[in-house]
């Protein structure tokens, strides 16, 4: 039996995976020092300002934190003077902080799982966190130059972060968030997306790949089928969070070999108040049947292992294990993977 990591590599290259990759089993998400300086919010925390000055709230019972954009809390009060408002936080960390993170990397079993640097939010998300969503989307049309400059500034910061991560932590995978759409469509046209985001991401992902990272996984739990060619050009190996609205089986036929797709299990279908194992298993069976085990990883759409309702993520994991036993005779998947990580 292949280890979870070997199996994921076979899946991504269209080789000989010996089972379905089971959600995040082959991806150990690991932190970098900035995440301790500007920590991710925990459920129940309200109105917490991060290192960029963005205020967020994480109500209990929702999948993640939200920026709070009452007029007084919007960071960029005037897009033409964004430099007066946006101040990139320092990325100079002590060796001790890097060592603490490196210890987490060293503790992960690199035979069984990728050591994946977790980076969020991405460039597009950061623009609307700083400006507020409606403002930001309007600025992409009305203040093109300012948005290009703002994205360039954010890109330079991300590249400095990448330099620190690669030189101190040596990940072999990057897991990068940036939500580019809603359930049924992308936030912007392909042309606008490419005009603003293609080159900056080519630069960021190119840096990681030329400094020891083998695979880039990009999270966008949305429709983004029209952006897949751009994703490939950026250097993304796995599009995580792909919702069923993307028509994943068609994407696999068209782009398999250039990119893989991780998702198809939408939270809305399995992660609700009266969830149960039967419903989870039914969805798992359907998506696995539709998409197969090459270039496809059945996975909850959300951007990290876990679910809103406790138990759902593990129920999905067990359903995929059950299917792997039935279809491929895999008896003891736990021996080939690290303990299942639940982040949310």
């Amino acid at each position: 039996m292949l280890t979870a990591k070997q199996n994921m590599i076979e899946c991504m290259k269209g080789g000989h995976p010996d089972r379905f990759v089971n959600q995040y089993e082959a991806i150990q998400l690991l932190f970098h020092p900035f995440m301790f300086v500007s920590p991710l919010l925990q459920p129940g925390m309200e109105n917490v300002k991060n290192a960029w000055g963005v205020t967020s709230t994480f109500p209990k019972g929702v999948p993640g934190a939200f920026p709070v954009h009452t007029p007084d809390k919007i960071v960029v009060q005037d897009i033409e003077k964004w430099r007066d408002y946006v101040h990139a936080p320092s990325l100079d960390f002590s060796q001790e902080m890097w060592d603490q993170c490196k210890a987490m990397y060293d503790a992960a079993d690199g035979e069984k799982a990728f050591k994946a640097a977790f980076v969020a939010p991405g460039l597009f998300e950061q623009t609307h966190h700083l400006c507020e969503m409606v403002n930001a989307l309007t600025y992409y049309i009305e203040y093109e130059d300012e948005m290009h400059d703002l994205i360039k500034y954010l890109t330079e910061w991300e590249l400095k972060l990448a330099e620190g991560i690669c030189s101190h932590l040596h990940p072999d995978m990057l897991f990068h968030h940036d939500d580019w759409g809603g359930h049924d469509s992308t936030f912007m046209s392909v042309n606008m997306f490419n005009e603003f985001l293609l080159e900056p991401y080519k630069e960021i992902y190119g840096y990681y790949k030329s400094h020891g990272v083998d695979y880039v996984v990009h999270h966008s739990d949305s429709y983004a089928a029209t952006l897949v060619p751009s994703m490939i050009e950026m250097g993304i190996d796995v599009y995580q969070g792909c919702m069923e609205t993307n028509r994943v089986p068609e994407l696999i036929k068209k782009y398999g070999g250039q990119i893989s797709f991780m998702g198809s299990i939408e939270n809305a279908e399995v992660d609700f108040e009266d969830w149960n194992d039967e419903k989870c298993e039914a969805v798992v069976r359907r998506v696995c049947e539709e998409s197969g085990n090459k270039y496809f990883i059945p996975c909850i759409a959300q951007g990290g292992p876990g679910s809103v309702y406790p138990g759902v993520y593990m129920s999905l994991t067990k359903a995929i294990d059950k299917l792997n036993k039935e279809k491929f005779g895999i008896e003891d998947p736990d021996s080939a993977r690290m303990p299942i990580q639940i982040m949310f």
Partner: protein, 211 residues
């Protein structure tokens, strides 16, 4: 008339900075203010909504078109008969309790406003009682639109619609629901009058329901 056509094109293309002058020129040229509103602006937004629904335009284009219309209406308003700008009726809109998503709700509010409705936007994380209070403060409201973007807030949507359904003013209003995890079947199950999948469809359905 050429003036109205120019306003239409500016709204459709989202030229927010140019529309005020174009509306003023149309007025100066003797165009009927109500025609400028209906044929110049609301028609243009109908076209934008249809293109959005068909995937030809995206959220940024829709936002700048709505902003353009708003700028145009600001010039036009003193010339319109009282209430003409919100002639289609009054709508109360909000995202239900526990849910902070506002993009979809804002788009729906903009499309409703652009379709001639007066919109009372209660914002996000709105309790069911607040929807009722908003109606009581605005008893001429024709529609109440509620959105939920999370599976965890679908119960709050259900409770909101239940409260509206048990209210004495229920026969005077139509209740519309929307949001990513919501479906027509769920809308029917909880007793809402309509579900639509996107902002443009919502505006169209709202016009039918309010007619």
């Amino acid at each position: 008339m050429a003036g109205i056509q120019e306003v239409y094109e500016l709204v459709e293309k989202g030229k927010a900075k140019k529309v005020a002058a174009a509306v003023q020129e149309a007025l100066d040229a003797g165009c009927d203010p109500t025609s400028i509103l209906n044929e110049g602006m609301i028609s243009a937004m109908d076209s934008v909504g249809t293109k959005f629904k068909n995937g030809e335009l995206f959220v940024p284009e829709m936002l700048v078109a709505a902003k353009t219309m708003k700028n145009g209406v600001a010039v036009l308003k003193p010339y319109l008969a009282a209430g003409a700008a919100g002639a289609a009726g009054k709508v109360i809109i909000g995202t239900v309790a526990g849910d902070l998503h506002d993009i979809g709700k804002n788009l729906v509010a903009m499309m409703l406003e652009s379709s001639g409705f007066e919109v009372i936007d209660l914002g996000v994380d709105v309790s069911k009682e607040k929807f009722v209070e908003a109606f009581e403060a605005n008893p001429d409201t024709k529609l109440i639109c509620c959105s939920a973007l999370l599976t965890t807030t679908m119960p709050a949507l259900k409770q909101t619609v239940e409260l509206l359904n048990s209210s004495p003013f229920r026969s005077k209003i139509k209740v519309m629901v929307g949001g990513a995890p919501i479906s027509a079947a769920f809308a029917e199950e909880i007793g809402a009058d309509a579900y639509t999948a996107d902002a443009a469809s919502c505006a169209q359905k709202a016009k039918e329901l309010a007619a």
